[in-house]
């Protein structure tokens, strides 16, 4: 009977490669997240720039510098709230996401209203900024992730 030698080594090498693919896929997911964020920010309505600044990409263990918020002199409380909620949202994502998950989001408490109100007239930016960014990138999303995941 023929005896196959080195099978354990092959399996060990395969497992090592699979782990490598997992790690590289995550890198690809982060790249994809950053691209969605970039595209969404380009379309975001701007008054003070805080909605744009509140975009984030988070993954397990991620840590990013806090955004440079612009002061709204008429409502200083708003800035305090933006700061507090941004930290909470991003830290929560970084500690609760699974290893294979990456989250793109906007932390500003008024983001939903700005995103969904099609009747708002903006001089800069537009409604549905995040949704449009995702739709734009969707045809190439798998390619972006796969580029890093290759053997």
């Amino acid at each position: 009977m023929a005896k196959i030698k080195g099978l354990e080594k092959v399996i060990a090498n395969l497992n090592k490669e699979v782990l490598g693919v997992k790690k590289r896929s995550k890198k690809g997911l982060i790249k994809l997240g950053l691209e969605i964020k970039r595209r969404s920010q380009l379309k975001t309505p701007i008054e003070f720039g805080n909605l744009k600044a509140s975009h984030y990409v988070a993954w397990k263990g991620s840590s990013t510098a806090p955004p440079a918020w612009k002061a709204d002199t008429e409502s200083p409380d708003k800035m305090v709230r933006l700061q507090r909620e941004h930290n909470s949202v991003v830290n929560n994502a970084a500690s609760n996401l699974k290893e294979t998950q990456v989250r793109v989001g906007v932390s500003a408490f008024y983001a939903g209203i700005q995103h969904e109100n099609l009747e708002f007239q903006h001089t800069v930016g537009e409604a549905k900024f995040m949704e449009k960014a995702i739709r734009e990138i969707t045809p190439n999303a798998a390619k972006i992730v796969a580029e890093d995941a290759k053997f």
């Binding site: 939903g112 209203i113 969904e116 109100n117 099609l118 009747e119 537009e126 409604a127 549905k128 949704e131 449009k132 739709r135």
Partner: protein, 161 residues
Amino acid sequence: MSKNNESAAIDIKDIITADTNPFTGEAQNIGKFAAKMGWGVFVAQEPESPDNTITIYDSPSSSLTVNPINKKGRYFESSSPIVQVRIRSTDYESAYAKAVEVQDAVANEGSYYTRKFKYSAFYVNNPPFHLGEDSNNRQLLVINITCHRTYILGQESGSPS
């Protein structure tokens, strides 16, 4: 040129202003097109009055993706436009109830035919989302609906299969 570049908002308007729901066959009274009293249904532009309005927009996020499928030598153009339905009322509870009524009227099993399209599915993407109040203290809620449709060459209008 794509034949799929026509307003899905207008087709949704036809579904919700119909006296009979085209999927269930049940009588409905959600609103009347351009009505000046009661619940008025509008497309693309929300008027100042009446207070109770349902306005349907072709969502700007909706890409008119054309996916030609060669099936038995014929090409079918399909796309998934998104419409936003915006409900306005002086009273939050009425606005919310109307939003639910709209989503229940649209999100049904079966296909819906217009002269040019077969709508095979409608997905309500989110529960009613509160946009706040307008300058006249009227409550605003929105729902987003994804429609899957295929261009067809003339079939009976409005008939579910």
